[in-house]
Assembly symmetry: C2
DNA sequence: CAGGGTGCTGACAACGATTTCACTTGCCGG
DNA sequence: CCGGCAAGTGAAATCGTTGTCAGCACCCTG
């Protein structure tokens, strides 16, 4: 490893002068120094710079699962922001485990200037430690139960779930099931609440055996859908609370040869790249993904600016959008005791 | 920030003793030190440790695009290995741009102990600089034209492409198109070569206008497929050299209402999570994804071990597997001058 | 009881870059 | 021709941690 002193020696100046030159100050021997730098292939030690300056120019990013297309997109958004900044991203998966998250963050706190986190649960206490350690923190996608005084980029989970519920009710469904995410996560809880409350407000209840809780993984969407199908009175429509569980549900329906949407309608939260190409094309609640990452990273970098450290916490809530494809349709047979309405003027994308 | 000296002062010992205690050596005042550490919430400065030890316990990972499910899986594999090690991952996208890759790596070299790279092109000279800087480097998915003396985890690209070609020929196709990736990347070049050579060896040529080069992005798969469809004599089968271009091709075929596989058969390189659920379920060449990440990271960490720095370069080539779903079928009309064979005993997955 | 371990200890010097401080040089104007 | 100022310089201190080194106290053995 070549140090600033070797450069200095070769250029016939002191290390201080080399340092000044590299930081853009005017210096007599600039030509000689530049030559020495080039010849030696010198580049300053990041560790030494960090030690001196107290800044690492690194941002920690902790998400539950990078192979989830949603989080991949969020991370890409964050990464794109760092393109014009001297920051890099230190990435870790928490695998939806609070424990793993703790470990990872305890380590990160020592190495980064700030953290973007999708907390594993709303009861998560790790963020408090991060704050105590003086490391700025921004939540993305998920929040804490009492997280009001943290920066956050969120999405209107309850509103999106409401759109899903209204869509299904508008088609005439009354026997509706929900496969929610863990209720100790923001999206899990809020999407379920939004969905159930909308049904309730319309006078449509949900049977206890139709109110299922999964873990946001494909496997649980699959299993819970199977359990719905084995019910004496299966639902005519299912709402799945994230992309992976939607996929699992769709696989289960295929495997059991259940027609979608003829026999059962399916609507999911979060769009997929392949959404339009699936059998059938999926009707989903969509939301900005890359943009969430961009906003989160911008917010964090802003917080790193000494002028903004003490700004009020900033909480951004983005809207959702119903993408009406072909996995939902009116129920085939009208549910017992209810007249099937005839939904008019429905148009579909494609 | 609380330093080791503050802990030392509170525990009534010297900093050296605290350091020794923390590194597991026996020390008289261990109880007092532990108390001081807990009360002060001390954790050592990573920057200072790096400066002293010359190790950062960070691995740089540079991939073209983290939202590509293949690379997401690879990164996940790498991340899972670091779970049992004290290493973290510094992640960057190169966006298939050699320039961006240069920038990112020039910066990473200063901050990491090693790098896993999927080089943007085979002519890439950056790796040489990395090696000169004394930073171990492992290639994943892609190689250099003269990369034999670098560690690498690769896949049998030519072999996979051959499987695809043989599959299509076995079905009786003779008018076959290929949408390849950039020929200055390993997978782009090798898959194309493997495909064309297999066709040639069987006495089936490829029309120049059927031999297309894309850029591994969905959009290019889409556009090039449209161009194939606008030909006076479109192909009866198409091979797309990666997952994203396969998706683009499928979208184009849908948009132009071309029946798959009735009118055109489609086979892609790389499977998708949603592969079985697509219209139609995709026939693809599959390969280990997470495993490639695991192997790459293990290899790199091994290389970081002083006992193995000077080992011979290790090059692993993994095999591919044809996953026969439903996007390929015999050509509907036999091509001019050829008798349509009747493929017997074909079984499909689902 | 002397001699020699053994087991800990603290002072100090590194690691590499940056910044402060006091200083020199050269130039300009009076 | 001299005083003063601007511009540029190097020595040294600093960031927080760890390894080296010399030293001290204690205990065991002969």
């Amino acid at each position: 490893m070549v140090t600033i002193h070797e450069v200095a020696a070769r250029a016939g100046v002191s290390a201080a002068t080399v340092s000044r030159f590299l930081r853009g100050r005017r210096v007599r021997a600039s030509a000689a120094i530049q030559t020495a730098v080039d010849e030696l292939g010198y580049s300053p030690s990041a560790a030494a710079q960090s030690l001196k300056s107290g800044r690492t120019y690194t941002i920690g990013v902790v998400v539950p699962d990078i192979t989830n297309p949603y989080f991949a997109a969020v991370v890409k958004g964050m990464e794109s922001v760092t393109r014009t900044e001297p920051y890099r991203i230190l990435l870790a998966n928490s695998d939806e485990s609070g424990e793993r998250e703790d470990d990872v963050i305890a380590d990160m706190v020592r190495r980064v200037d700030g953290i973007v986190l999708a907390p594993a649960t709303e009861q998560d206490r790790t963020p408090l430690n991060v704050r105590d350690a003086g490391v700025p923190l921004v939540f993305v996608d998920r929040d804490l139960a009492d997280g009001e005084d943290f920066d956050a980029i969120l999405v209107d989970n309850a509103g999106g779930a409401r759109q899903a519920a209204e869509h299904l009710m508008g088609l005439g469904h009354t026997r509706i099931a929900a496969i929610s995410g863990p209720v100790d996560t923001t999206p899990g809880r809020r999407r379920r609440e939004g969905f159930l409350e909308t049904l309730a407000a319309a006078g449509i209840g949900i049977a206890p055996e139709h109110d299922l809780i999964g873990d946001f993984r494909e496997q649980s969407g699959y299993q819970l859908t199977l359990s719905l199908l084995s019910l004496p009175e299966p639902p005519t429509a299912v709402f799945t609370a994230n992309n992976l569980m939607t996929l699992g549900a769709l696989k289960a329906l295929h495997d059991m040869r259940v027609g979608v949407p003829d026999e059962i309608s399916l609507i999911g939260f979060d769009d997929l790249d392949t959404g339009p190409l699936l059998r059938p094309p999926l009707t989903v609640i969509d939301r900005p993904m890359v943009e969430q990452g961009v906003l989160a990273m911008r917010l964090l970098l802003r917080r790193l600016d000494p002028r903004h450290v003490d700004d009020m916490p900033r909480r951004v809530v983005l809207g959702t959008k119903l993408v009406d494809r072909a996995s939902t349709a009116p129920p085939r047979t009208s549910p017992a005791g209810t007249a099937a309405p005839s939904p008019a003027g429905r148009t579909r994308a494609r």
